[in-house]
């Protein structure tokens, strides 16, 4: 699989008769990176990712895949490389059967027969909808329609996966499925770009966090850097909160602990093991 380098060069976008949603965004996303975009409602996150598969064309600036301006690439060709799952699944679903819905994308890419069936089955399995292949999508609740929209993108097996708020409205099991999808795509070397308001998901499942504020990139770095105490004022200015383990770690003077695993590793271990820092030092820094 050829996973492209994605470059956004000074991208700005203004909706007709509307606000400027994205302002001068420059980002370089290496093949195989996992990037989560966080930020206030209306800060331009969805607008930005819609540039990645050509749904929106930049008002100014360029979007490049492997150095080629996507302006010159046909939308159909882009669809084979960048899969985008919408925030609202009802903007995406249209078929009368779950299996046809999931098969539509790969079929359009020319996949047929056993390969098509295998892809549909695998994608439905990944999101936990294997038993619903013959169901009408609109007989599923919203949370499962959202998983279905995700499956229909997964079945296209694009080298780049873009997920707009994939965990929204999911219960614990649904969130676990989305996490597994992100992890397995990352393991296969695919690029995953997600938008989320779930700070725990962001800190635990992604290698890089991009914070958007009023259409611009406000912060860009590893979860440890973005959720470190020094960045909290900027996070809060973007209407975000650090995840709880980060707050506890900072309160105890343990440095940046964006995830429970990082916090546990930094805490003094079970009696006698002598792991981590001595309890006496905690909170004195």
């Amino acid at each position: 699989m050829n996973v492209p380098l994605i470059e956004l060069e000074a991208v700005s976008f203004t909706y007709p008769d509307g606000p400027t949603a994205v302002i001068d965004v420059t980002l370089r996303i290496e093949p195989g990176e996992t990037v989560v975009i966080i930020g206030q409602n209306g800060s331009g996150k969805s607008t930005l990712v819609r540039h990645l598969n050509g749904l929106l064309r930049p008002g100014s600036g360029r979007v490049l895949l492997d150095g080629h301006d996507i302006h010159s690439v046909h939308v159909a060709a882009l669809a084979a490389r960048v899969g985008l799952a919408f925030q609202n699944p009802d903007r995406q679903l249209f078929a009368g059967r779950v299996a046809s819905e999931v098969g539509f994308g790969p079929r359009n890419l020319g996949v047929r027969g056993a390969e098509l069936e295998a892809r549909v089955a695998a994608a439905l399995e990944d999101v936990g909808l294997a038993a619903e292949a013959e169901t009408n999508p609109y007989d599923l609740g919203l949370s499962r329609r959202k998983l279905l929209a995700l499956a229909s993108v997964l079945a296209m097996r694009t080298p780049v996966l873009v997920l707009d708020e994939p965990t929204t409205g999911q219960d614990a099991r649904g969130v676990a499925r989305v996490r597994a999808v992100v992890a397995s795509a990352a393991q296969e070397g695919r690029t995953v770009i997600a938008i989320s308001h779930d700070m725990r998901f962001a800190a635990e499942c992604f290698g890089r966090v991009v914070v958007m504020r009023a259409g611009k990139v406000a912060l860009d770095g590893s979860p440890a850097a973005i959720f470190a105490q020094a960045a909290w004022p900027e996070l809060r200015a973007a209407y975000l909160e650090p995840p709880l383990p980060a707050v506890v770690g900072a309160g105890l003077g343990l440095g940046s602990t964006p995830t429970a695993a990082a916090l546990v590793a930094a805490l003094p271990g079970p009696a006698g093991e002598g792991r981590g820092r001595p309890p006496g030092r905690a909170g004195n820094e």
């Binding site: 409602n41 009802d90 949370s143 409205g169 383990p245 309160g251």
Partner: protein, 270 residues
């Protein structure tokens, strides 16, 4: 005065199985009742039943009793239901009227239909915009908002009706952390100050831990757990497909690593 469900069983038209079975619940003025549970456990169906839309508008079969202030919802007219109980749908995009040019008019749509004086409508619209923190969106086109902004407009349009009871199906699902906190506080404030009775369906158990007076956890259409917000620390939550509040989760993860949960750690949470 209350919405009372007693032994409610509800089956959608054409469905073979009941979506709700033997659900009882009492929503009193000034109280916030939180509802959570796995996907397809009956939360949204419960909302439709509470607001009287099921079976009155969408059909299906209801057994048991659903009363709003003592009157069975099946005996109420749609406008009577709408005046007593406001309902926010799970998908905000389906809530917006698609008939208005600005957010201000969208939120005014409901109060205008109540036949209120224009001054009262204007006052309510600004109040609703302020309480969910979206005054700057007033002149914007409702069709051209982000997902989260659309959700806040849909919520404001229900709040502006100032119904005695509010049934909100995941009102914060697409909101940023600050927006979620703002909405949670606004709802708690409404319950306290205006005496609204609120049913709040949420996957974000942190929101319920913060403002719910009572919590129900549904499983397969029935109430699996209920009680004060303390049930959100119940270890059975995981089996029920519900993610506990962040504090509960973190304490569990630390203990699971064999580390003592010291008062110092608990303090750092505060």
């Amino acid at each position: 005065m209350a919405i009372e469900l007693s032994g409610v069983r509800y089956r959608y038209a054409g469905a073979s199985a009941a979506a709700l079975s033997d659900v009882s619940l009492r929503l009193e003025p000034g109280r916030v009742v939180g509802v959570t549970g796995a996907n397809e456990s009956g939360k949204s169906t419960l909302c439709l039943v509470l607001a009287g839309l099921a079976p009155k508008v969408i059909g299906g079969r209801l057994d048991g009793s659903v009363r709003i202030d003592g009157v069975e919802t099946t005996a109420m007219r749609p406008y009577e239901l709408a005046q007593r109980c406001g309902l926010l749908f799970q998908n905000a995009a389906t809530q917006l009227s698609n008939t208005t040019a600005t957010v201000f008019e969208e939120i005014a749509f409901g109060p205008c239909n109540l036949g209120l004086a224009i001054e009262e409508v204007v006052e309510r619209v600004w109040w609703a915009l302020r309480i969910v923190g979206i005054e700057p969106l007033a002149p914007r086109d409702p069709a051209r908002l982000s997902g989260g902004q659309g959700q806040l407009v849909a919520l404001a349009s229900v709040l502006a009706l100032r119904p005695a009871y509010l049934v909100l199906d995941e009102p914060t699902s697409e909101l940023d952390p600050a927006g979620t906190t703002l909405v949670a506080e606004a709802l708690a404030g409404m319950a306290r100050e205006t005496g609204a009775g609120i049913v709040l369906v949420e996957h974000k158990t942190d929101v319920l831990a913060r403002i719910a007076d009572e919590v129900l956890v549904l499983e397969n259409g029935a109430v699996a757990l209920s009680g004060s917000a303390a049930v959100l620390a119940d270890p059975r939550l995981a089996e029920l497909g519900v993610e506990p509040p962040a504090r509960v989760l973190l304490e569990g993860e630390v203990r699971a690593a064999g580390i003592e949960w010291t008062p110092r750690l608990a303090e750092a949470l505060a």
